[in-house]
Each structure stands twice: as C-alpha cells, then as structure tokens.
C-alpha cells in the first residue's frame, strides 16, 4: 500500500519560500506523485504532478530524488491566499487493479501563511 507521510502543519510568512516534504517509501514503479491543494469548503485542486527529478509549473516546483521514496513541494514567495491544506498522493495501483488514478489521500499538511 503506497501510503504517504507528511507534516500535519507548517507556518510561514508572506513572501517566503515554503517546502513541504512527503515520504512514500512503498511507491510502485508505475506510480506518479501528485500534489493537491484544498481550501476550506472546496474540493481539492490539482497543483503539480511528477515521476522523477524536477517538475516546475507556474504555481510550484516538485523535487523528486532518484529513489522516489520522497518528494518536496516548493511554493515560491507564498501569500496569504496560499493558506490551505496540501495533499501528497501516489497512485495506489496495487490495491485497485492498476489504474494510477485511484489516489489515496492522507490527512495533508495545513499551511498557515501569516502577514
């Protein structure tokens, strides 16, 4: 079972770079690593996805070491509106028959950005 472990909460200030690390020791060969963001009373929203090395988009960067047993979501220069819960997920292909879209959500990391 490809479970993930991430910090329960993190604090930051506006303008700082925030790095949230997630461990996934049992990640399967075919699994991608995906990060979602969730605001209160809303559904999760896709942020970024990667398989190995580094991925960057207009919102964040994702760093994945060669062994893929962990990953780090990097948010540059956070603002108050980045306060949310961030979920790290890997596709649980072993449990649900091969489709990497069957994601297992943990409790996520609550990022609190202060002025």
């Amino acid at each position: 079972l490809a479970k993930t472990t991430q910090p329960i909460s993190m604090d930051s200030y506006e303008g700082q770079e925030v790095n949230i690390t997630c461990s996934h020791n049992n990640i399967a060969t075919n699994d991608y690593i995906t990060w979602y963001q969730q605001f209160p009373s809303q559904g999760p929203r896709f942020i970024i996805q990667g398989y190995k090395t580094k991925v960057t988009n207009e919102v964040a960067s994702l760093f994945i070491p060669a062994d893929r047993k962990s990953s780090t979501l990097s948010l540059p220069r956070v603002s108050l509106s980045d306060t949310a819960v961030y979920y790290c997920l890997v596709g649980d292909s072993e449990n649900y028959g091969g489709a990497t879209n069957k994601l297992i959500f943990g409790t996520g990391t609550l990022l609190a950005v202060q002025p």
Partner: protein, 115 residues
C-alpha cells in the same frame, strides 16, 4: 465548461432516510469518483467508475451504491442513512491514467448531516 457539478450543496437527513447525491461532468471524462471527507481528515474513496456501465468499490463502499448509465453522470445513493455517514462528499472526474492530463477535477462538494 461547468466542470464537475454536484447537487445538492447541503442536506440534512433523518436516520433511515435515503437520498441520491448527484454528480455531472461536461469534460467527457471516462473516469469518475466519489469521496467522503470527515472533519479534519483526508478524502476516502467510496466508489469509482471507469466508464458507462462499469463501477467498482473503493476504500469505504459500505452503505452506498452507485450507477453509471451515461458518461456524464455518476449518482451516489444512500439507502439507509446513518449518523456515521455525516460528511462532505466530493465527486471527481479524470481522463484514463497514463494520459498527460489524467489529474482529477473535483466538484464543490455536498455537505450531508444525518440526525
């Protein structure tokens, strides 16, 4: 594009009552999912569907039923509501795994209370 829509937004049920949570998507996605999210917790997969006429159980299917007669719609049925089913329910959709855009798109959620 409306994306993923869910109705109703809120509902209060009495123990033993039944109801159907509606979910529709206009992105022509083959895959659709139902999750529940209890307070302070991550999302748990209830049921999923890989296409019209095909459904399968997720992590917590007991007490729920689904059907998928069309690509667009994926209703979730609660037959005998119990207080343990008090939760926020999210519907999501995606393209099949392995495609570039196979990330999941979530609806706004339905907040259900069973008294």
């Amino acid at each position: 594009n409306a994306g993923v829509t869910q109705t109703p937004k809120f509902r209060i049920l009495k123990i033993g009552q039944s109801m159907t949570l509606q979910c529709a998507q206009d992105m022509n996605h083959n895959y659709m999912y139902w999750y529940r999210q209890d307070p302070g917790m991550g999302l748990k997969l209830i049921y999923y569907s890989v296409g019209a006429g095909i459904t399968d159980k997720g992590e917590v299917p007991n007490g729920y039923n689904v059907s998928r007669s069309t690509t667009e719609d994926f209703p979730l049925r609660l037959e005998l509501a119990a207080p343990s089913q008090t939760s926020v329910y999210f519907c999501a959709s995606s393209s099949p795994p392995g495609l570039v855009s196979d990330t999941q798109y979530f609806g706004p959620g339905t907040r259900l209370t069973v008294l």
